[in-house]
């Protein structure tokens, strides 16, 4: 059950290159064979393209068009998912909501990965006092209930898209940090790192240029995992009134509005947001699963 990475590292003379190539290529081959993973991957790409095109105004540029005579139209050929209170096309809003979710997902998780990787690397690599301090810090953060921590951050920073990214980024890094730290502890004494030290590589060089490529697959897996969490957090925070600035399309806001619209028979806002979120999150979930299998079978059991 030992990961192949470990063996590769021990044997190879220039480990990060060779091992890197084989690991990534191997993973690519495995994912390629997995039909579900391929479909998920293309679903995610589809969302990305959708976001890109809609942000550029190529498609669904009508998301902000207000027509107060069209309030709450049910789904029809003109409006596949009907219209909302201000007569705006719900489908267009859902498509543009993708952007909010992707931004929160990528930026929020990106921040978390950056913090987690840097802190975890320093902690694992240096050990000693630095390690104690960082472990103390993340254990403390970890004890605080996640949703309350995010809420507190949102109150401090005031609701906006940036706040959402920061709040999620500043709170979601602990798990990743812990894993990275464990990996760095394993790697710091290995031959290739010692060798680099003998050749006069600085600490920063050893941490980021030598070891990081060898643990980067973990960043990728955790990113994918964190992404799903971030998207779901956005919905909950919007529901609590701590979401994006009013007027910005967001699935969370659509679901939040739906809690009052549903029982008047307006189900399309909820349906559109739920479906869009469902397929994105499902695709990410399935892809993460495949990615994990492909990159690090051992991690699955954690």
């Amino acid at each position: 059950m030992k990961a192949t990475t470990m063996n590769a590292v021990n044997v190879a003379s220039n480990p990060q290159l060779e091992q890197g190539r084989s690991l990534w290529y191997d993973a690519y081959l495995r994912i390629k064979k997995d039909k579900v993973a391929v479909i998920s991957f293309f679903t995610i790409c589809f969302y990305l393209v959708l976001t890109l095109l809609s942000s550029l105004g190529v498609i669904f540029d009508n998301y902000g068009v207000v027509d107060n005579s069209l309030t709450y139209l049910p789904p029809s050929w003109d409006h596949w998912f009907g219209t909302d209170l201000f007569g705006r096309d719900v489908l267009a809003r859902a498509v543009h909501g993708t952007k909010t979710s992707l931004v929160v997902g990528f930026a929020g998780t990106g921040i978390a990965m950056a913090i987690g990787t840097v802190l975890g690397a320093c902690s694992g690599y240096f050990g000693g006092k630095v390690d104690d301090l960082i472990v103390w810090f993340y254990t403390t953060i970890d004890t605080i209930p996640y949703i309350l921590l995010v809420v507190a951050f949102s109150f401090v920073l005031g609701p906006s898209l940036l706040t959402l990214c920061l709040a999620i980024g500043l709170t979601a890094w602990v798990r990743h940090c812990r894993i990275v730290r464990a990996e760095y502890i394993k790697h710091r004494d290995l031959d290739y790192v010692q060798g680099a030290a003998a050749l006069g590589a600085s600490h920063a060089r050893r941490i980021f240029l030598h070891i990081l490529p060898n643990v980067f697959h973990l960043v990728l897996i955790n990113f994918s995992l964190g992404f799903v969490g971030a998207v779901k957090s956005e919905v909950i925070l919007s529901f609590l009134g701590l979401g994006v600035e009013p007027g910005t399309p967001s699935w969370g806001v659509m679901i939040n509005d739906a809690k009052q619209e549903l029982f008047r028979g307006v189900w399309w806002n909820l349906a559109a947001a739920t479906l869009f979120m469902f397929f994105l999150v499902l695709a990410f979930n399935l892809f993460t699963d495949a990615l994990r299998d492909a990159l690090d079978p051992k991690l699955k059991n954690k």
Binding site: G241, L242, P246, F263, R264
Partner: protein, 594 residues
């Protein structure tokens, strides 16, 4: 794999049994008793505690008004509102200069039985209880929410308050302005004429509490209220429900025998002369989410409720109930609310405060009619000024020239303001609460302003954050509403009186010396044409300056089931529960069909 199958199998069977059992017990226990006359009332927010001196919200007041009583109350049916004695034997004797008000207290009024009293038996209410309770209202250490009703109005009260702060006085120190000359006589001396005094004596803040009970519970009185009212506090499951039971020793009242025009036809006088209260129990359900509130009402679990914005379409069509609702026996009650919604400008703001034309341009650009369709289901009155209908000085024919939705005129004013087509205009920040509806209203405002080229940034804030911003004069513009405390235009105009500026109620920091002068003049005038004249002059100054964009005067829409009788509502009257009658037989019959 036989065994894991078995675990799974058992688990499923157990869950299935649970489900069936649950379904059954539930539908079996749905049977409604036809003798139980509990009145079920739904509150859309949690109650904040049952101490009258803190009861500044509708929800807490609704509960407290059944437990505690006031000297005066409003007649249940008559409109316009009319005061009548409740704990007082009769309306007070007022001296010629209007400064001394002498009340005779009803004899034989007893507090609810409570272990704080000798032998656990509620003692008689005395004039001294008012003196004590009002000192409590003024006690600086208690920070009562209702002190404003007496602040600066009663001889010696503010001095007493200061002395208590300094530790030089206590509850035994007499106050010149509030004196019990004997057990049943209460004399109030004012430091200046205060024609709203009788109104505030009908507000929950001024209801008497018993010293024995307060001494026993201290700050925890808010969970152990004892009063003289028709219902006694029984139980409070916090975040869920409050139960009150009938007070058998109540001093008693009968259902009114006369009402406003139309009341007789509406069947509101059918119970005339009958002994109050009608129901043995009241349960207040605290339900903060809209969906369970509505679904429960539709199942008949609450007797009546205000219609939430988003349920309007499913219940009302063209101002009347839908046939579907009618077939369920649901009835509709409409009443104008004595309130005004508005968007306030901070007059201390360097951009908005100095630029009258900009404010007028914003007012002209706001499409009130569409906002009424969107947010009030087409059922509200566009507000021309702060003064709502059913209050003196309200003139139904008055039109505010800047309240007409007119984009081209708005653009004209924007140009006059120095921002042709919005060029050079800074982005204005509009503070809005985070709830769905408040957010949607803010979005609508933003859309309206965009149409004339003005950019608005919406600042989402929680209620305490908004309060802080307003009170520190940091907010630029915000949406808010004012519901009358009592039926007098003064209650609305004080929102614009200069000396009331932040952190006072004049959040807009409006300061106009002419307005203030008129306000001071009107404050010491008795109700009458002269005072109304002054109020209208103040209204004209408001229109000239536009420190607010007045929004609407709302229309209250209530749905009620067929089994609830004597239903009439007014936002200022909050002790209406004793008049409502549940027809338990009819409820059992109708509820079974829902």
């Amino acid at each position: 794999m036989y065994s894991s199958w078995r675990i799974f199998f058992h688990a499923s069977i157990i869950s299935a049994i649970c489900l069936i059992f649950a379904g059954c017990t539930n539908s079996c226990s749905q049977k409604v008793s036809d003798t139980d006359s509990t009145l079920n009332v739904v509150l859309s927010a949690n109650v904040k505690g049952l101490d009258p001196i803190y009861a500044n919200d509708t929800y807490s007041n609704a509960v407290i008004s059944n437990i505690s009583e006031t000297l005066l109350e409003y007649h249940y049916l008559k409109r316009p509102l009319e005061l009548q004695p409740l704990l007082a034997e009769s309306m007070p004797e007022v001296s010629d200069n209007g400064l001394t008000h002498t009340f005779k207290i009803k004899k034989g009024v007893k507090f609810h039985n409570n272990e704080a009293f000798e032998n656990g038996i509620g003692r008689e209410l005395k004039a001294q209880d008012f003196v004590y309770s009002w000192k409590r209202l003024a006690d600086p250490r208690l920070q009562a929410d209702g002190f404003w009703v007496f602040d600066g109005k009663i001889k010696g009260l503010n001095e007493w308050r200061d002395k208590v702060s300094a530790g030089e006085a206590d509850y035994d120190t007499p106050i010149e302005g509030i004196e019990a000359t004997d057990d049943y006589t209460l004399v109030i001396k004012l430091s200046k004429p205060y024609y709203q005094l009788h109104y505030v004596l009908a507000m929950g803040f001024t209801s008497p509490v018993a010293k024995e009970v307060v001494d026993k519970h201290g700050k925890e009185y808010l969970n152990h209220p004892v009063g003289t009212g028709p219902y006694k506090f029984a139980n409070w499951v916090r975040n869920n429900k409050i139960e009150l039971v009938k007070n058998e020793n109540w001093h008693g009242q009968t259902y009114p025998t006369e009402g406003a025009t139309g009341d007789e036809e509406a069947g509101l006088l059918a119970d005339a002369g009958k002994t109050l209260p009608f129901n043995d129990k009241i349960t207040f359900h605290e339900v903060t989410e809209a969906q369970p509130r509505w679904l429960n009402f539709m199942k008949g679990n609450y007797e009546y409720m205000g219609i939430p914005k988003d349920n309007f379409d499913s219940a009302i069509a063209e101002g009347d109930l839908t046939p579907e609702m009618k077939s369920k026996g649901v009835q509709l009650f409409k009443t104008p609310e004595p309130d005004v919604t508005y968007v306030a400008f901070n007059m201390k703001d360097p951009i908005l405060g100095k630029n009258e034309n900009l404010r007028k341009a914003i007012a002209l650009a706001y499409d009130t009619k569409t906002s009424i369709e969107k947010f009030y289901n087409g059922q509200a009155l566009p507000a021309q000024s702060p003064i709502p209908p059913s209050i003196d000085a309200y003139d139904p024919n008055f039109e505010n020239p800047f309240k007409k939705f007119d984009v081209s005129k708005a653009k004209e004013f924007l140009e006059k303001a120095g921002f042709p087509e919005g060029k050079g205009a800074p982005v204005i920040e509009y503070s809005a609460l985070t709830s769905s509806t408040a957010r949607q209203m803010a979005e609508f405002f933003k859309q309206n302003m965009a149409a004339i080229g003005l950019q608005v940034k919406i600042d989402s804030v929680s209620w305490p954050q908004l309060q802080k911003k307003i009170k520190e004069a940091q907010a630029q513009m915000w949406g808010i509403a004012w519901l009358a405390d009592y039926p007098d235009a003064e209650n609305f105009l004080q929102l614009l009186y200069g000396p009331n500026k932040t952190p006072g109620p004049n959040g807009a920091n409006f300061a106009n010396s002419k307005f203030d002068e008129l306000y001071k003049k009107a404050a010491i005038l008795p109700p009458g044409p002269e005072r109304t004249q002054l109020y209208q002059e103040m209204r004209d100054i408001f229109v000239n300056e536009m420190p607010w964009v007045p929004g609407v005067h709302r229309l209250g829409y209530y749905l009620r089931h067929g089994w609830i009788k004597n239903f009439k509502m007014h936002s200022i009257i909050n002790n209406h529960f004793k008049y409502l009658r549940v027809d338990a037989k009819k409820r059992a019959e109708l509820k079974a069909k829902l």
